[in-house]
Structures are given as C-alpha cells and as structure tokens.
C-alpha cells in the first residue's frame, strides 16, 4: 500500500463489485496451498516441517487428485528440496516450495545459490523460531538467517495477504528486470493455522495475472547448451554479485507496479508499507507480520487517550524500502521498532538496524536530510520470541515509553537503563 493511503490498512472491506470474488474460511497454510494450485507450477520439491507442512501436504493432495500438472518431488531433506528446485528452475520450469525454521536453516546453502544463479523460485516460508531450545512457534529468526541471501522477502499480516502475496511473488520474481527468488512469509500458527475469511480469485484470473514463465537459459533447450554455476575467482565473482544487487534494486519498482496492478484487477492494492493513522502522528511503532494488526488496535487505544500515535507495517523486507521509511517516519518525534527476532549483537535487532539506517544515513538516497537532532529518537524492542504472545497492552506500554522519549527526547532512557534492545514480554 502506498504510504499516502493509510486508509487501506484494513483489507477486509475492499472486495469490488466488478470482480467475481468469493469469501471463504481458510487458514494461512490452506490459502498458500490454494495459491500454489492456481499457479500450477511445473515442479514442487519439498520436505515437511512444522508449521509449514500443511502447505505442501495439501498441495500434494492437489497433485494426487490431478488438479495440477506439477511434478512433485519428495526429497530427503530441505537441502535436497532447494537443490531439486534449483535444478528444475534451471531446466526451465516454474518452481515452488515451502519450508520453515530448521528447514530453512538446512537449505540455507542452496538458498544463496538459487539467488546467485538468478532463479525465480517462489517459496512459502512459515516463520518459526530457530533452535536451541527447540520450539515450533512464531518468530522471525529463520528468515533473518537468510536476510542477505538475495531473496525477495514479503511478510504477510494475515491469510488474505499470504494468498495475495504468493500470487504477486511469481510475477515479481520472474520479471525480466529482477529474476530473483522470492519468499512469502506468514507468522507460524498465528497465520498458518489461524482460520480467517479470505477472498479467493478465480483460477483463470490468477493464471492470466501471472502469465507464462519464460526461462532465460533453460537446460532442456538442448540445441543451445550452456554451463551453469561455473567457478568465478577474483576475475568475475564481484561483477556477478553486483548484478544480484542491481536486480534487487530493480525489484523496488517492479514490486510497486505488480502491487498496483494486483489492486486494479482484484481490488486489493499492495505497496511496501502499510501506514496507519500516520497523517498527524508524532510517535509510531514499526513491525513485520501479524503484529501490525495488534499495533493498530494499540494505536486506536492511544488515540482515544489523545496521543498522536500511528503504526507502520513493513510488508516488503527485502528489498528494504528505506526511502519510504524515511518519508513516513523521518519527521516523527520517536519511533519504536518491534523486532520478532534478536541479532544477539549487544546493539540492535535486524528491523531496527534497517529502520535506523534509513532514518539516519545520508548516503542512501536521502535528499536534503534534516539534521540528526530533528530526526526521531528510536527505541528497539525484541518481542514474541518462540511464539510468546504480544498483546495490545504490550504495545500500549511501548507507546508510553515513546511518549516519554518524545517529551524528553535525547534525555530519555528507558528502564532498564540504557539497554538496547529492550525485551518486551520477557520475565525478568
């Protein structure tokens, strides 16, 4: 959604009369599998892992029932799953998979290779904590592990967004200016197993929207043999990596275009950020995923108390929308970044590092930046690790800290004193 259109925050009431949409009750996993059925990829290679298992389990049912043309490869590990996806994509197929947590960690080596080889594989990733201790519930540690792998990362707030994001991810990944793999994430159990009303798009409309896949160097084109994955030393490796960076830059515009076109066709517009009550906000919280909805409830509560509160959901995490973060948050008095993962670096968690750099760096395309003293004070909270609930009251407490920070500005030090990040909801 455009940063200028905060009204679009609630996606529930936007089914236009023209489009033949029907609302059904589905879980996040069910709609991700449904999107895969409609996309009808050539190959899916996957290994089950909680809480993403259902995505490919349901999809395997579609394969068994003959509802898709997909070759479903049951592999022996996630490393093999991504390896098979890479081979199938390089062969010339449209390829998808799904995983979570330890599965993503095990496939990490191949995740980087998929991006370096520029293969537009689309993956459903259900966010779950990483061991140890072992845990099956939501946090964002798993996708942060491959934050810098060269994959597009789109976070979903609810099942509707998970469904819509899956369909858009195919177009984004396969765009000729991009050609990068993309992962669409949902919060484990909160979205993956939570049942909601979802508007589904007719099969034909999905297929028309995504179009057909045109591989660039298909290995099955035996008349034009090529070498893939050759070694590059000091001579060409750097140039090859620079190309990946450029593709991620190009994705910035493509994601906006695809989100707008999706909105024109199906009534739900998508952009980088979802800004809620930000028009006159003085303080705001920033979050990824399902917590954005909780944050909006907290914003409403704070507004009733007369506090000029707002919230920003970051939908697209990679590429990171630094310019829009700056435009949306740069003039505020204080900003709290809520991170559902910890970088364990005695400094700041991942989303906070990105937001802070966007707001304070003058080297990232900022035109005429305001002096640092006029930019917002930033508080960083790590919350919800291993699926620990976050409630509106927790975020209201954050707004209380923000109010103090806004009033005292640089003098403000939250309790416990001078700690960054702060831990929200942990037992002391």
């Amino acid at each position: 959604m455009s940063v200028k259109a905060p009204k679009m925050a609630g996606l529930k009431s936007v089914a236009p009369k023209a489009a033949p949409l029907d609302m059904v009750a589905r879980t996040g996993n069910e709609v991700m599998a449904e999107a895969m059925r409609q996309i009808n990829p050539d190959v899916v290679a996957a290994y089950p892992i909680t809480p993403a298992t259902e995505v490919v389990q349901i999809f395997a049912g579609f394969v068994a029932d003959g509802l898709v043309d997909t070759e479903f490869v049951t592999v022996e590990s996630e490393h093999s799953a991504m390896s098979a996806c890479i081979g199938a994509s390089q062969a010339g197929g449209r390829v998808m998979t799904a995983t979570s947590s330890q599965g993503l960690a095990l496939m990490a080596e191949m995740v980087y290779i998929a991006a370096g080889l520029r293969l537009p594989i689309v993956m459903a990733e259900v966010n779950r904590a990483l061991s140890a201790p072992i845990n099956i519930h939501c946090d964002h540690s798993d996708t942060m592990l491959v934050r810098d792998a060269g994959w597009i990362q789109i976070f979903s707030e609810n099942a509707q967004e998970a469904y819509d994001n899956m369909i858009q991810a195919v177009r984004i990944a396969e765009a000729s200016a991009v050609r990068l793999p993309a992962m669409v994430t949902t919060d484990g159990f909160i979205i993956s197993h939570g049942m909601e009303g979802v508007s589904l798009i007719p099969d034909e409309a999905v297929r028309e929207f995504i179009g057909t896949f045109s591989p660039v160097y298909p290995l099955l084109d035996v008349d034009n043999p090529v070498t893939i994955g050759p070694i590059m030393f000091t001579d060409y490796y750097f140039e090859s990596r620079r190309q990946v960076a450029e593709a991620m830059k190009n994705a910035h515009q493509v994601i906006a275009d695809v989100g707008a076109e999706f909105g024109d066709r199906f009534g739900r517009r998508y952009g980088y950020l979802d800004a809620y009550r930000m028009e006159d906000a003085e303080v705001a919280v920033v979050a990824l995923g399902s917590t954005a909805g909780t944050a909006r409830a907290a914003v409403d509560a704070m507004r009733q108390k007369g506090i000029k509160a707002g919230s920003v959901k970051v939908r697209v995490y990679r590429p990171f929308p630094a310019d829009m973060i700056r435009a949306t948050l740069g003039h505020l008095k204080a900003v709290a970044v809520l991170d559902r993962s910890d970088a364990l670096n005695n400094h700041a968690a991942p989303l906070c590092l990105d937001v802070t750099t966007a707001l304070y760096s003058t080297g990232l395309g900022a035109s005429r930046p305001s002096p640092p003293s006029e930019r917002p004070r930033i508080l960083n909270y790590v919350y919800g690790l291993g699926g620990r609930d976050i409630k509106p009251a927790d975020i209201q407490k954050v707004f209380g800290d923000l109010e103090q920070a806004a009033r005292g500005h640089a003098a403000f030090a939250p309790a416990p004193q001078n700690e960054s990040p702060m831990y929200l909801g942990v037992r002391e």
């Binding site: 991009v178 070498t227 050759p230 001579d235």
Partner: protein
C-alpha cells in the same frame, strides 16, 4: 530499468576482462558450449607432470583418468601433456603403473631452475 537477462558479452560471444557487471550473462551462465578450452587452468599448477616417452608403454591409463583431458595423444600414443590446461593434480602419475613410472611430478619451482640451468630431472 534494464532487462537483467542479457549482457553485451553474449552479443559479442565472449567475456573479456574489460567487460563490466552490466555486460555479463545472467547468473554467471556461460552461454556458449565447448568453451572450457578457452579457460586456461594451467596457471593453477604448482607441480608439473613430466612425461617420458622412453618409459611409457602407452597403456593410456593417464589419458583415461585425467580430469582435464590434458593428456595429448597422437596415433594412439601419448604425445605429451597440455600444460595450458593441466592443473597439476598428479592423478596421471598415480595411475601410471608403478613399474613403468613414465610420469614424474616435479615442483614448478624446480622446473624453473632446470630451465635456467643444467640439471636433469631424473
């Protein structure tokens, strides 16, 4: 915004050191078949196989096992070694029958000494 899927080097048919990142094919692909001969891997070598025609019985085990197709044959006999592509792995010397011992692995540093002076390898 450019199409990321084609680089200038593809139109020219060859990637050269002067080419920048915009010119390179997508994803590091080599879009031309049979191009391995153009990649001279001989300069990776630190030990050099020296082949003795006198000792060689032309069993061709070295030719079979060489991973870089660097054993040169003529009329079914070992003619010599392609030093532009031989990486010096030593597999040929290892596979050469012990009693024949027609291939000796010699450090490149010693080769330089030999070329400069007078010393016989054996």
């Amino acid at each position: 915004m450019s199409d990321a899927t084609q680089g200038a080097s593809e139109k020219e048919g060859r990637l050269e050191p002067r080419h920048g990142w915009r010119d390179m094919p997508l994803g590091g692909v080599i879009p031309k078949a049979g191009s391995a001969t153009e990649y001279e891997t001989g300069d990776w070598r630190s030990i050099r196989p020296l082949h003795s025609k006198e000792r060689c019985i032309n069993c061709l085990l070295c030719w079979v096992y060489c991973p870089d197709a660097a054993i040169r044959l003529q009329d079914g006999k070992v003619e010599g070694i392609d030093y532009e592509h031989c990486k010096g792995c030593g597999i040929c010397a290892k596979e050469c029958p012990q009693k024949v011992h027609a291939i000796e692995m010699v450090p490149e540093g010693r080769i330089k000494e030999m070329e400069a002076g007078d010393r016989d390898v054996r």
